[in-house]
């Protein structure tokens, strides 16, 4: 990935440095650093991980072990819209699986994956904490409650 300048005027590496600094260069804050980097860049690009390893003076494999252990991290670019479909117990007993299957069919991908045009990423998650409203689908942070397979196409239309 070429080093480019962000809208804020900082290069990507400078932005990462800023994040690391906000965590006081602490190795123990690795998870928080990766979370912030992912929030900024939408995924964890390899060159940035290398940079973090250098800055914190820890082996790159330690970063990879953390980045691959926790579900929250993704090493592949994500789509413009991240769709999280809940398969927590409450959503499961109300038919969450059928919703996920319908999403997969409409998008032509299997969860967790991203469409080729980088528009949609689909992931099945375990409980989004809105269990009373299940089945729940969250798109880029917006909640959609009581979803049935039939409502899926209507939701996708809202995110073009």
């Amino acid at each position: 990935m070429p080093i480019t300048t962000m809208p804020t005027g900082l290069t990507e590496l400078e932005k990462v440095d800023e994040i690391i600094e906000s965590h006081y260069w602490e190795e123990s804050a690795l998870i928080g650093i990766l979370q912030d980097v992912q929030r900024e860049f939408n995924y964890l690009p390899r060159p940035l991980l290398k940079h973090i390893a250098q800055r914190l003076d820890i082996p790159l494999n330690r970063i990879y072990s953390v980045a691959t252990f926790y579900r929250a991290f993704t090493l592949k670019p994500r789509g413009k819209y991240t769709i999280s479909a809940c398969l927590g117990t409450a959503c499961h007993v109300r038919g969450g699986k059928r919703v996920v299957e319908e999403l997969e069919r409409r998008l032509g991908i299997k969860a967790p994956d991203t469409t080729n045009d980088l528009k949609y990423s689909l992931q099945a998650v375990n409980c989004l904490g809105a269990c009373a409203l299940g089945p729940v689908v969250v798109v880029n942070g917006e909640y959609h409650a009581q979803i049935t397979p039939k409502k899926v196409s209507g939701i996708l239309k809202q995110y073009q």
């Binding site: 998870i31 929250a72 319908e102 375990n126 904490g129 809105a130 269990c131 909640y143 409650a145 039939k150």
Partner: protein
């Protein structure tokens, strides 16, 4: 914001704030936790603010945006004080009418009232609704009274007075003794007595000690902790400061799941405010006691709810548990004495200090006078979800029966279906059948029934819930969430899941059940942490209470509940089908055909059993029939 650096200054500030609360004031309360926002509360708030400005009603009515008010299903909901008029499913368009009718003319708008699913009658006031009045909302009830972003609101209802009392009049040992006597047991998992844990941590040697709040709430289907963090973050924070003082700790952590961004934001704000007022940080209320709080966001791993894995994660490592022969209270985070409690456990602390032990021990079961394990005291917040009429967070006294929760508070099963089971304790828990509906809900009774209290998930299933599917669901969950450190869990759960998955997909064989039992025993006895050791519970309880269903799947090749796709088929009822063609258009597999106005038919080989036709049909003519269709060969069944 006021700064208070001694107890007297705090108390006079609190008196002022308490006096400023007018019980007769006209206040519109709007519930705006994550569920509220999901249902559009933000738009209602906008509309309300605009209407108040437009009609110049600033002096007559005020708006209070609160966290979750527990009845998540009927949101967006607003409650109008002082009468406690409850409006449900409010839309922004309704707001002008609410202003005109209810606020100005004191008239009730019938259309927005809650309809009791049991009696079918409309109910006007919140305290007349069984969902609310059958609960004991000693902890969650405060959510209604405060805006979680304002520390003044919390102080005005008596908040932080327990801390002031502890710091100015109580020795650490006295606080620990009080918590021990109260019989408060951990609300996050196994129900370990909090006072006993505090005492060990207090006595442990170490220059630095930590108190930690477990807000990982990984149990899918449970969200009670989120409700508290969003609705009343200061109560959790106050509990932690008191705990830290009792234990002798100056540093605290809260580990919040990443899926709860609003809770993180509100807790951050609470910490900032408490620091600014002098209730957190250096020399709290002039007592010489220092305490700082840190927030860590979880990484989305269920195992990180386990105490040793959580501490590893706090250290920035992968969340692998360690064997328990070294206790966390002696060597936990960074190998120092650490006391971990759940969100709800911490929220109980100020209450016990304010109300006293006798008051607390009157609620609940058993006798804890000489033995903190002797009973279950206080209340527990459950997330009552699934196929009940009223879904939401319910706070009930320990010892209440399941029947009272499901039928009394929950209003029974949706759509007049039959109750089949309630799943408690999450992936470590089990399914409790109807014959145990009169079971008293407390730590020990739930464990005896083969389940667990866990962190308070209560998922109700009706006759259309398949118990084999549920067991398979949990094992799949645990298989994915097992950290892989120990073999019994990593391999054992995988094998158990394979068998269950085979059964659900129509490949069940004789001997499967016996093998499942054997594997269950092995995993239970030899897994490193409680994730593995409790993993067989969903299988064991369903085998114990719903053996027939396993047999039906294996021997009769049928899923009686109509869930497992390989063991069911769809048909269209010829009598009720009007031939409207709606299903034909919606079917993604082009499997339905028929002439207009004549009953339609499903091509069994093309049908993928997605269920879209069931959602589409207005006449309920599409039926699920247990068992494969006789015309479809076993190998060709769409799964």
């Amino acid at each position: 914001m006021r700064q208070v650096n001694n107890v007297a200054a705090f108390q006079s500030w609190q008196d002022e704030l308490m006096k400023s609360r007018n019980p007769n004031a006209r206040i519109i309360i709007i519930s705006s936790g994550t569920c509220g926002i999901a249902n559009g509360s933000k738009f209602i708030i906008e509309a309300l603010t605009e209407q108040i400005r437009k009609h110049n009603l600033d002096s007559q009515v005020s708006l209070r945006v609160t966290g979750c008010l527990s009845f998540c299903q009927i949101e967006p909901l607003i409650e109008i004080q002082p009468e406690s008029i409850l409006y449900t499913g409010v839309k922004p368009e309704d707001v002008p009418e609410i202003m005109e009718q209810t606020i100005k003319n004191k008239k009730i708008i019938e259309r927005l009232l809650y309809i009791d699913p049991v009696t079918g009658k409309k109910v006007t006031y919140a305290d007349e609704i069984p969902f609310y009045n059958k609960q004991s909302r000693i902890i969650s009830g405060d959510n209604l009274k405060i805006d979680p972003t304002k520390i003044e609101d919390y102080i005005s209802i008596g908040g932080y007075s327990a801390l002031a009392k502890a710091l100015s009049t109580m020795k650490p040992e006295a606080i620990i003794d009080m918590i021990k006597k109260s019989g408060l047991r951990g609300r996050g998992g196994g129900g370990f007595p909090a006072g006993v844990k505090w005492e060990s941590c207090h006595k442990a040697h170490g220059d630095l000690k930590y108190v930690i709040c477990n807000a990982d709430e990984g149990d899918p289907g449970a969200y009670a902790n989120r409700g508290l963090l969003e609705g009343n973050p200061h109560s959790v924070l106050e509990g932690m400061i008191i705990g830290a003082y009792a234990i002798g700790s100056n540093i605290g952590y809260i580990y919040i799941r990443d899926e709860y961004p609003l809770a993180v934001e509100l807790f951050e704000n609470a910490i900032k405010q408490a620091e600014e007022c002098g209730l957190l940080g250096r020399n709290i209320l002039g007592s010489g006691f220092n305490f700082v709080m840190n927030i860590n966001r979880g990484g989305g791993a269920f195992v990180c709810g386990e105490s040793s894995a959580l501490m590893a994660s706090l250290e920035g490592k992968i969340g692998e548990p360690r064997a328990k022969y070294i206790h966390m209270v002696e060597r936990g985070l960074y190998d120092r004495p650490s006391c971990l409690n759940n969100v709800e456990t911490w929220a109980n602390i100020p209450l016990i200090l304010n109300k006293d032990v006798d008051w607390f021990t009157k609620i609940g079961t058993g006798d804890v006078t000489n033995n903190p394990w002797g009973g279950s005291k206080g209340t527990k917040i459950f997330s009552l979800v699934g196929k009940v009429n009223n879904t939401g967070l319910v706070e009930v006294p320990m010892g209440i029966t399941l029947r009272e929760i499901v039928y009394g508070i929950g209003g029974g099963i949706r759509g007049n279906k039959r109750f089949k089971a309630v799943q408690t304790g999450g992936p470590s828990g089990g399914c409790i059948p109807d014959k145990l509906l009169d079971l008293q809900v407390d730590y020990d009774r739930l464990t005896e029934a083969g389940s667990m209290m866990g962190s308070g998930g209560m998922i109700v299933m009706d006759e259309y819930g398949c118990m084999v599917d549920v067991a398979c669901y949990f094992l799949n969950f645990l298989r994915e969430e097992s950290c892989g450190k120990c073999v019994p869990c990593r391999e054992g759960i995988e094998r158990m899941w394979e068998i269950l998955n085979d059964i659900c997909e129509g490949r069940g064989q004789k001997g499967n059940i016996e093998l499942l039992m054997e594997l269950s025993e092995m995993v239970k006895d030899s897994a490193l942490c409680q994730l593995g050791a409790t993993a067989p519970n969903p299988v064991l309880t369903t085998l114990k209470y719903f053996y027939d269903e396993y047999e039906a799947h294996i021997k009769e090749e049928k899923c009686p509940a109509g869930v497992c796709k390989a063991l069911i088929h769809y048909t269209i009822d010829e009598v009720s089908c009007k031939g409207c063609g709606a299903c034909v258009k919606s079917c993604p597999g082009e499997a339905i055909s028929g002439e207009k106005k004549k009953p339609h038919k499903i091509d069994q080989e093309r049908c993928i059993k997605c269920g879209v036709c069931i959602d589409t049909c207005k006449f309920e003519s599409v039926k699920i029939i247990p068992g494969r269709h006789p015309s479809v060969k076993k190998e060709l069944v769409n799964v």
